[in-house]
Symmetry: C2
Subunit: 334 residues, 2 copies
Amino acid sequence: MKHIGKQTIQFDNPPTILETASIVGPKEGQGPLAKYFDQCLEDEFWGEKTWEKAESKIIKETVNSVISKSGISADSIDYCFAGDLLNQCISSSFGLREINIPFFGIFGACSTFVESLCLGSVFIDAKAAKNVLCATSSHFCSAEKQFRFPLELGNQRPPSSQWTVTGSGAAIVSASGTGPYITSITPGKIIDMGIKDANNMGAAMAPAALDTLITHLQDTGRKPSYYDMIVTGDLGYIGKDIVTELAETKGYNIKNNYNDCGVLIFDKEKQDTHSGGSGCACIGTTFSGYFFKQLKQGKLKRILLIATGALTNATSSQQGESIPGIAHAIAIEN
Amino acid sequence: MKHIGKQTIQFDNPPTILETASIVGPKEGQGPLAKYFDQCLEDEFWGEKTWEKAESKIIKETVNSVISKSGISADSIDYCFAGDLLNQCISSSFGLREINIPFFGIFGACSTFVESLCLGSVFIDAKAAKNVLCATSSHFCSAEKQFRFPLELGNQRPPSSQWTVTGSGAAIVSASGTGPYITSITPGKIIDMGIKDANNMGAAMAPAALDTLITHLQDTGRKPSYYDMIVTGDLGYIGKDIVTELAETKGYNIKNNYNDCGVLIFDKEKQDTHSGGSGCACIGTTFSGYFFKQLKQGKLKRILLIATGALTNATSSQQGESIPGIAHAIAIEN
């Protein structure tokens, strides 16, 4: 591989995304992408006693599913890269404690899924591994409880708020396969524009998405039109508009080929999630369920996947801190 | 690089640890390793209003220090790998939000420092980067507040409890340099032996340390005596004894060349930390302060550094979960 431009890595032998899997919660199962997911749960607990245990079960079963669908044995997966939103990433570590695969815990907030694909693809092209597993999860109820208010309180949600996706997305990245291929990655910098509104994550993360997008285009010498689709993770309606407008002021027109998983995963009229979906699983399930199939079937040939994360917690907000954002990008081509 | 045995990666062009830096709190500054640290703080707040902000300042200044000591410019550092114990790793993300280096957030609990060195060295040998920054932090006060009880409560600590190290360790890993070299890495699996006592982390993590140690020795075909020193991160007195005994039952004698950073960093008699030090910064500062200098001066030629982490949080303990452990190993040779 080689390092090109400011922060992009281009692969000599682009790793293949061999297979993906996705499991989502009931609300996502009523949304417009429902038919693309492997499984839509009927309740948020899935037979568990707590939301945290349910989230662990969701990532565990999603990982079992992707291994089973891929046709390769768990033994032949060399390393796993996973993380989630729960404190100390317990959804991943409890959910994956039995898989017996060397484990790299990662935390990029809602950028975690693409972060895992970035690291995994470096390992593959470096010949450090033949197959790696990348996974993430989030859960509306465990996230609300941890970051905002107890659900039982019935708090009103402001119009700029987003709805954390309940679900898990997982992918196996491999040295051999017939694509889609991860051709380059552009890991992002932490960008903090001073936004402090914890109910407007889209606005807090949009500048990071823009920075990574423009850096990727400059590093690779590409125009936005090189991609059939540029996809961000969970900026929602507000963040999507900000990125579109800011890109235009910088001379990049992305109006015709840009969308956001937080916009795609819920129905705006019927599901009233305010500014759209969010959470690690927003891009995790939308990519694993929808975009992977579009690529596999040749309906999309080149996409740029940019996952965004808000690197904040409940304590930092209470201490008056702003919300730093980050965005990692991968180019996936057929 | 090549993948050898079950889970070890051996480097073709072993990356150099170019420089390290360490800043510690007042208690660590009264301990036996005080003279090896770059800076010992006089109070836990370091002029900040909260412990979390103090921890962010500590990692920020440690990173500034390692860059300054290394003689290379921040611009020439391609990627940063960092994480910590605070919820959503805010010490790292707030501490490093201004350094303007593409950022991979990682979470391996107290194994984070070696996890960052593992990932960083793969990037270097893969030519994805010329220089990478690896950093971690922990803080006694922020950790006690988050994982156990408010310090103001004055809770009695059981004899098996450990003392979270206040401080930060940082390293720059580079493609060129005169060593010490990272020659191989053995990333670990999640090992859960069902231990539930959140006040006995050493016992919870010891099986993971043993698993990674034995796997490393088997993968490389080495005996424990190959290393001048085998060093674990923060098993403390209890965990160290468990690993020593368990290793013996498996046919490995490590009595003469094994020690633990949690044992080394505090004085057992004078400082009464019960079972010793712990936290991401325990191995972070002990390696960056003490072991790096021993290697650089040729007093040690080969060490195996095994950082251990307990993948738990306050909620999982309250929900009756056990404490999964993980351990990542790197071989460092001159």
